[in-house]
Amino acid sequence: MIPLLLGITFISFFVIHLAPGSPTEMQTMLDPKVSMEARARLDKMYGLDKPLPLQYWNWLKRLVALDFGRSFSPDGRPVLDKIKDRMPITILINVLSLIIIISAAIPIGVLSATRPNTLFDKTTTIFVFVGFAVPTFWLALLSMILFGVQLGWLPISGLKSYNFEQLSDLGKFWDYTKHLILPVLISSFGALAGMSRYMRANMLEVVHQDYITTARAKGLDERTVIYKHALRNALMPVVTILGLSIPGLIGGSVIFESIFAIPGMGQLFYASVIARDYSVVMGILVIGATLTLGGNLLADISYALVDPRIRTRR
C-alpha cells in the first residue's frame, strides 16, 4: 500500500512538473508588461524556483498532513476545499451509476447465460457489442438531442433549473433528479455492457461445474440451483472487475461533466489542467488514484468475504 501511494505521488508530481509550460507563465503571458523579475517573484512565492526534488519533498511533507497547498488560480483557495466542494456530486453520480450497473448487469448476465441462444440472449449480445464500441460522449450528445431538444422531456445541462429557488421541496427534488437522469444513465452505459458480458461468461462457466450437476442430481429445483449455487460462484470475478472499473468511471467524469455542465471533480480537473493550476491537478490526480487503490482493496476484501478459499490460502 505505502509504496504504491508513494509511487502515485511521485508520478503525479513529475509528470506535471516536467511537462513544458508553468502556471506563472500562464499568468504573465496575458500581460506582456510583466517583467521577468515579476515572474521570478511569482515563482519564488509558489516555491517554483527551487530544484524539483526539493519541491517534491516539500509537497510530500505537506501531503502527509493532507495539505494539498493552495490553488494557483486568482481565488487562491486551499486545494482541498476546492475539491471538497466538487466531490459530492461526482461521487453521487458514480455511486448511482454503479448501482445501476450492478442491478442491471447481473440479471442480464444470468438470464442470457441460463437461456443461451434464445432471442433474449442474442439481443443482449448485440447490445453488449455495441455498448463496448459506442463513444460515451456521442451517446450523451444523441440523448441530449432526443430527450432534451426534440422531445423536451429532460433538461440538458447543469443541475438546477433557473427557477430552482422558487420550487417546493418536492419540486426541488424532482428538478434535481431530472437533471441527473441523463448523466447517470449515460455514465453507466459503457461499464454496463462490459459487466453483463463478464457475468454471462462466468455464469456459463459455473453452470458446467460438477457441483452444479450434483445440486441438480440431488433434486433441487432449478431456481435454487441457479440463484443459490451458481450465482454466488459466478459473482466472485465480477467483484474484482467492479473494483477495476472505478478508475474508468472517475476518468469518464471529465467527459460527461463537461458535456452536461455538471460542476463536479471532472470539470474542476479539466479547468485546472487548462489553467495549469499545478496544485489542483496534482491534488486531484493523487486523490483519484488513491480512490482507485481503495476501490481495489475493497474488491480484494469482498473477494475474500465471498470466497472462503481465498481466506484459507493466505
Binding site: P3, P20, F129, A133, W138, R197, I259, V273, I284
Partner: protein, 282 residues
C-alpha cells in the same frame, strides 16, 4: 517460432468465423477510405462556404455542412486518416513498451520483476483519462503528442500479458536447449521466447487500436486533440455540441463513424482471439 501449419490452421478457423471476416472487411474498407481520401472526398475538407452555413443534409452535401459551411462528409473522410494514424502509432508505442518491460519482468524474475510490476500497478491506479488529460494539456495540442501520450499511458496490459507468457515459456525445453548452446539472454528473449508470446499481444493490440481511437476522439471533442482546421471525428462532434439545438447531423454522422471503426477492430480482435485460441469460448 510459430510454425506455418499453426498459422494456416488459425487462418482456416478465422475464415469460417463470419463475424471475424466482417470485421476484417470493415477494417480493410477503412484503410481504403483513408488512402483514397483525396479521390473520394467530394469537396475540399477545409473549403469555407459562407452561403451554406449549417445546411442540413441534401444530395449535394449528404451529411450536411458545418458552421463554416464546410462539407461534413469530406471532413469525415479526411478524419478517418487521423484515427487510423492515432490508432496504429499509439498502439505501436504501447506495445513496444509493454513487450520490453513484460519480457524483462517475466524472463529475469526477482527484483527486476518486482520493480516493473509495481510500476505497472501504480500506473493502473491512475484514471487513465485523467493522466492523459494532465499531460496533453501541458503540451502543444498536436496529433503527434496525442499518439505519444496515449501510447505511454496504455502499455500496462501488454506488459502483464507478455510477462505471463514469459513465465510459462521460460522453463520450457527449447529455452533450456538454447541456453545450453550458449545463447545470450537477449538472444533467448527476443529470438526464442518472444515470437511464441506474440499471439495474445496481437489480440490485445488490435483491441487497443479501438481504444486509442475512442480516446483520441474524446480528446478532440474536449478541444485538446486535433485542432481545427484539420478535421477529426471528435472535433466535428464538438461543433455538434455547440450547435445542438439546430444541427443534429453534426452530432450523428461522425459518431456513427467512430462506432463503426471501433466495432471493426473489436470484431477483428475477437476473431483473431478465437482463431489462435480455439479453446477459449465465451
Amino acid at each position: 517460432m510459430i510454425s506455418r501449419e499453426l498459422l494456416s490452421d488459425a487462418w482456416k478457423r478465422f475464415r469460417r468465423n463470419n463475424l471475424a471476416v466482417i470485421g476484417l472487411c470493415m477494417v480493410v474498407f477503412l484503410f481504403l477510405v483513408s488512402f483514397a481520401a483525396p479521390f473520394l472526398a467530394p469537396y475540399d475538407p477545409t473549403a469555407i462556404n459562407t452561403k451554406l452555413i449549417l445546411a442540413p443534409p441534401t444530395l449535394n452535401h449528404p451529411f450536411g455542412t458545418d458552421q463554416l459551411g464546410r462539407d461534413v462528409l469530406s471532413r469525415m473522410i479526411y478524419g478517418s486518416r487521423i484515427s487510423l494514424k492515432v490508432g496504429f502509432v499509439a498502439v505501436g508505442i504501447a506495445t513496444l513498451i509493454g513487450l520490453l518491460l513484460g519480457s524483462f519482468a517475466g524472463y529475469y524474475g526477482g527484483w527486476v520483476d518486482t520493480v516493473i510490476m509495481r510500476f505497472v500497478d501504480i500506473m493502473l491506479c491512475f484514471p487513465s483519462f485523467f493522466l492523459i488529460l494532465a499531460v496533453i494539456a501541458f503540451l502543444e495540442p498536436s496529433i503527434w503528442n496525442i499518439m505519444i501520450v496515449i501510447g505511454v499511458t496504455g502499455w500496462m496490459g501488454v506488459a502483464r500479458l507478455t510477462r505471463a507468457e514469459f513465465l510459462s515459456l521460460r522453463e520450457r525445453d527449447f529455452v533450456m536447449a538454447a541456453r545450453a548452446t550458449g545463447a545470450r539472454d537477449f538472444h533467448i528473449i527476443f529470438v526464442h521466447i518472444l515470437p511464441n508470446a506474440m499471439a495474445p499481444v496481437l489480440v490485445s493490440a488490435t483491441l487497443g487500436v479501438a481504444a486509442a481511437i475512442l480516446t483520441e476522439s474524446a480528446l478532440s471533442f474536449l478541444g485538446l486533440g486535433v485542432q481545427p482546421p484539420d478535421a477529426s471525428w471528435g472535433n466535428i462532434l464538438t461543433q455538434g455540441k455547440d450547435n445542438i439545438q439546430i444541427a443534429w447531423w453534426l452530432s450523428l454522422f461522425p459518431g456513427l463513424a467512430i462506432l463503426f471503426t471501433v466495432m471493426a477492430y473489436n470484431l477483428l480482435g475477437e476473431g483473431i482471439q478465437a482463431a489462435i485460441n480455439p479453446k477459449l469460448r465465451t
